[in-house]
């Protein structure tokens, strides 16, 4: 086709190199022949001064170079592996002293307390598990109902907006949720929710006994539920949407109601993905420390009542690591981290296994027969009429029934006697479907309500204090009124920026390593990524303290950004690999077939093609890092040097002026995080569009 003559210089070169069979009228064609690249072509006399492509290619030696590509990948993967190993090792060595002193009984015995005697993690493990279990019991049904509603029932335009909102809300920092829970939910619990729960018969005494306190296990569980909901909804929704349209239509075409399509076809197919979503939510809930520490009351005792105070592993680390005496005291806090680490890794790895098992297992065998449904008297007789004729006649094409024969043969599919089943049950089925849809819609509202309330409340409380001066003045010293948060904003930016610079290159190189190499080492690295991304951020904070702060004899921006980099690294590896894998193999082979060396294919086909995903993934990791509090807790010298830390300390003060600062900072932080996530999505969309 001569239409291809509208090519740029680069494409023209490619055509000469191998795609030259475009048409005789293209002068490039003869250039290709002359350079001998067209097999069998005679070398004609070239009537003009065409470049000798072969000579150029030879001189450029395009296939050379890129020698650094493979070593770079190995280097990136090595850095990544070193990080994983360092995290695991430092937890092990840090906690060694405590385990040596208390023996393995540390895990299950007694109450941890700062004064060491008889310390153990037992009560904290119970507190962690109970809190998480209550949270998931609340979050899972609501989240899954909301996901079903979003994926299946809500009109697609509404669903698109709602899904974007949910994904944005997933980025709400836990410290903001904690702040809201501490200053808004907790008083509400004390004055209304807990008295109400006491009055519930039977349960009131047994499960919800004790004085009205405010901070409680239940409140912590509610906070965890609110925090895990967006992720749960968004992951489950993706799993549901991933079920092919063809499967849905097959069910619809058989007369299934919309609810039946969901229940019988979509849900079973999406179950592995949903199990993974719930597992991730559990992992997140287990590891959350900061928001829980704000609202659980921090009383490391055996939980008697859900409305009483409690403590989790994470919250205890937050509260006790700073005060712990060097040596055995610090070591036993790290040991708590080790226990938490093992707990979350087991959950994450178990979740992966669950997903594989779900994928591998085929369909069940015959379902157990239920009782014959009432209200179907006609069915049995209908079949009695059908069977004999059908199983005989219909076998191998049967009698090529004459068209008029059908009318006289009453046995088979005469429209005169349509199948009785669907009609009888349709009303009931549709009613069931409508109720199920309503329930799912209510779940959607229930999932959205607290998050919307949280955002609205933060804006309402934070906006009055927000001014230009607030943003540009440094944080005032303690007991000095006024001041701003400029040092906190700058500190956050510095820490996160440095972390990005440290984490992005090894993240991308590791992703390329995983992409280029099948086999055992990448499988190990992926396992490492699963482990590392499951490590609670508070544990990463401890690790950074052990590895960086202690040897350097002081907290620093560098230590904090190393902690955040460790946190971002597995997220980036996963997001980058996912983005890279979206580039089609065809395109890569097209590049390779032109003689491009691998590194060039990767640079100009793979990386360019996956740029939207890469940018978006890294920006989302950045958004997540800005909102982190726990890794900074022990690594940053002062709370004035990060927005999240400032909120954390100010929120716990009784002075309303400080609480005011916390709200305003939370608003700034929320704005930054949401803007960054929205920007990531926009960039991805824009780059994709521009590429087309």
């Amino acid at each position: 086709m001569p239409g291809t003559s509208a090519t740029t210089g680069r494409q023209a070169t490619l055509e000469t190199a191998g795609l030259g069979r475009q048409g005789p009228e293209l002068p490039l064609h003869s250039a290709g022949e002359r350079s001998g690249l067209i097999p069998g072509g005679p070398s004609p006399v070239v009537s003009y001064d065409a470049p000798d492509v072969r000579a150029i290619l030879a001189s450029k030696q395009a296939w050379r170079g890129g020698r650094g590509y493979a070593p770079a990948r190995w280097l990136g993967a090595g850095v990544f592996a070193a990080v994983v190993i360092a995290v695991a090792l430092s937890i092990a060595t840090g906690s060694a002293k405590a385990f040596a002193h208390f023996g393995p009984g540390f895990v299950w015995s007694g109450t941890y307390s700062p004064d060491i005697t008889g310390s153990g993690a037992g009560v904290l493990i119970v507190g962690t598990v109970v809190t998480t279990a209550v949270a998931i019991v609340m979050a899972a049904p609501i989240g899954l109902g909301a996901a079903i509603s979003l994926a299946e029932f809500v009109p697609s335009k509404v669903a698109a907006i709602a899904t974007t909102l949910v994904e944005l809300l997933a980025a709400v920092p836990s410290i903001v949720v904690g702040l809201w829970a501490l200053l808004v939910l907790s008083p509400l619990f004390r004055s209304h929710v807990e008295p109400f729960l006491h009055s519930v018969p039977v349960l009131g005494g047994a499960v919800f006994g004790g004085p009205d306190y405010g901070p409680s296990i239940l409140l912590a569980a509610v906070v965890l539920a609110i925090m895990t909901l967006p992720t749960l909804v968004s992951l489950s929704r993706s799993a549901l949407r991933a079920v092919p349209l063809a499967d849905r239509e097959a069910a619809m075409a058989l007369g299934a109601t919309r609810w039946q399509v969901v229940r019988k076809v979509v849900w079973p197919a999406a179950r592995p993905g949903i199990a993974a979503a719930v597992t991730l939510a559990i992992g997140r809930a287990l590891g959350e420390a900061i928001a829980v520490a704000l609202v659980i009351g921090n009383e490391p005792s055996w939980p008697h009542s859900l409305v009483g105070p409690g403590a989790t592993l994470g919250s205890s680390i937050v509260n006790q690591f700073a005060e712990a005496e060097p040596g055995l005291g610090a070591s036993s806090v790290i040991a708590l981290g080790a226990v938490l680490f093992v707990l979350t890794v087991v959950v994450n790895v178990g979740g992966q296994a669950l997903r594989r098992a779900g994928r591998a297992s085929g369909p069940g065998s015959f379902a157990a027969p239920g009782p014959p449904p009432a209200g179907l008297p006609g069915v049995g007789t209908a079949v009695a009429i059908v069977l004999p004729g059908a199983s005989l006649g219909a076998g191998q094409g049967g009698p090529w029934a004459a068209p008029d024969g059908g009318a006289s043969a009453p046995s088979l599919n005469t429209p005169a006697e349509p199948f009785a089943g669907p009609h009888h049950t349709l009303r009931r089925r549709r009613l069931l479907g409508t109720s199920a849809q309503t329930v799912c819609g209510v779940c959607l509202a229930a999932a959205a309500a607290p998050l919307v309330a949280l955002v609205v409340y933060t804006v309402a409380r934070g906006a009055p204090a927000l001014s230009f001066g607030f943003l540009v003045h440094p944080v005032a010293p303690a007991f000095v009124p006024g001041g701003g948060i400029s040092t906190a904003i700058a500190g956050s930016a510095r820490v996160v920026g440095l972390a990005l610079v440290m984490a992005a290159p090894p993240g991308l190189l590791t992703a390329l390593f995983l992409f280029e190499r099948p086999g055992r080492i990448p499988a190990l690295l992926r396992f490492g990524a699963d482990v590392l991304s499951g490590v609670p951020s508070i544990v990463i904070g401890i690790v950074a303290y052990e590895i960086v702060v202690r040897p350097m004899h002081g907290a620093s921006t560098l230590a904090a950004s190393i902690a955040l980099a460790v946190l971002m690294l597995p997220i980036m590896v996963r997001a980058d690999e996912e983005a890279i894998r979206t580039v089609s193999v065809d395109l890569q082979e097209a590049g390779a077939a032109l003689g491009a060396p691998r590194w060039r294919v990767v640079r100009s086909v793979v990386l360019r093609g996956s740029m939207p995903g890469l940018v978006a993934g890294n920006l989302l990791a950045l958004a997540r890092a800005i909102g982190e509090t726990a890794p900074l807790l022990f690594t940053l010298a002062s709370a004035n040097f990060a927005m999240t830390l400032l909120i954390f300390t100010d929120a716990q003060q009784p002075e309303t002026s400080l609480q005011q600062v916390a709200w305003a900072t939370a608003l700034v932080l929320l704005g930054a995080v949401l803007a960054l996530s929205a920007f990531a999505r926009f960039i991805a969309w824009w780059l994709t569009r521009r590429a087309r």
Binding site: A250, V265, F419
Partner: protein, 283 residues
């Protein structure tokens, strides 16, 4: 708003080629009747002004080039445009049922109309048996003996019984592509539909599997009304009793050009556009 289509509003009452006085077409009432049917998505009209009577218990094939709205028209019968925002105007009658009447539930229509899709789409999470009886289960039938018998009948009808009778509880994905497609046919037949819609059922199959499915289709005539969509003229000639030709009009909107007994339409079409298409000069 609808200009009178240039289509030939054809029920198929005309005497066939009448060899041996044999298959006179169409008993009193057509199984399926399209009256001035148009389907549009947003502002885009995909197919318009279709008038067609589909005779009961025969194979009627919709042929035409890609993009002329065959599949769109077929899916309209099963109300599969409902959830994708497609709008159907005009009237489609299934026996005595007005498919798009306000009070007609889509599930009712679909349980009376079977559908086989372009690519085999057995439910991946279900066994062979569960696939076949899925329509009956959707309808609320749980009685085991009933389901077993219905499954056996349907699998016989799809010529699959002997192949799968000892492995009914295996995954449907353990079957080959052609077998999967026959399983989908059995699944559609198990609810004993009045009309079976087949949307290019062989397009994803190899020639041998295609031959088997085609054999099956011819065998189904007389038991169920089959409406088949294909762009393969040879296939249309092999399996059809009647052929309806859809072509794209000047404005790229699909129209029904001609319909009638297969021999007549394929060999001596009355419309010049049909002749052009059949002989390969358009599309």
């Amino acid at each position: 708003m609808n200009p009178v289509p240039a289509s030939v509003p054809t029920s198929v009452p005309g005497p066939g080629p009448a060899a041996s006085g044999g298959p006179t077409i169409a008993p009193e009432r057509p199984a399926l009747r399209f009256q001035d049917v148009s389907v549009s998505f947003g502002n885009h009209v995909a197919v318009r002004g279709v008038n067609l009577d589909v005779p009961a218990l025969q194979v009627t094939t919709l042929v035409g080039p890609s993009g002329c709205g065959k599949t769109t028209l077929l899916r309209a019968v099963n109300r599969l445009h409902d959830h994708l925002g497609g709008r159907v105007e005009g009237r489609i009658e299934l026996g005595d049922l007005d498919i798009y009447a306000p009070g007609t539930p889509a599930e009712l229509v679909r349980s009376r109309v079977g559908m086989v899709f372009q690519r085999p789409n057995p439910f991946p999470t279900m066994s062979i048996f569960d696939n076949v009886v899925s329509g009956l289960r959707f309808a609320g039938i749980r009685k085991r003996s009933f389901l077993r018998e219905a499954a056996e009948v349907a699998l016989h009808q799809a010529a699959l019984w002997d192949l799968v009778k000892f492995r009914l509880d295996q995954s449907a994905l353990s079957l080959s592509g052609g077998q999967q497609q026959r399983l989908c046919i059995a699944r559609a037949l198990a609810v004993r539909p009045e009309v079976l819609l087949m949307d290019e059922p062989c397009s994803a199959l190899d020639p041998i599997a295609t031959a088997k499915v085609e054999h099956l289709i011819t065998g189904l005539a007389g038991q169920v009304t089959v409406v088949l969509v294909t762009h393969n003229m040879f296939q249309a000639a092999r399996v059809s009793d009647n052929v309806a030709v859809l072509l794209m009009g000047e404005d790229r909107i699909g129209e029904l050009v001609e319909a009638g007994p297969a021999d007549l339409v394929l060999h001596s079409p009355s419309d010049p556009r049909t002749l052009e298409y059949v002989t390969g000069r358009v599309g």
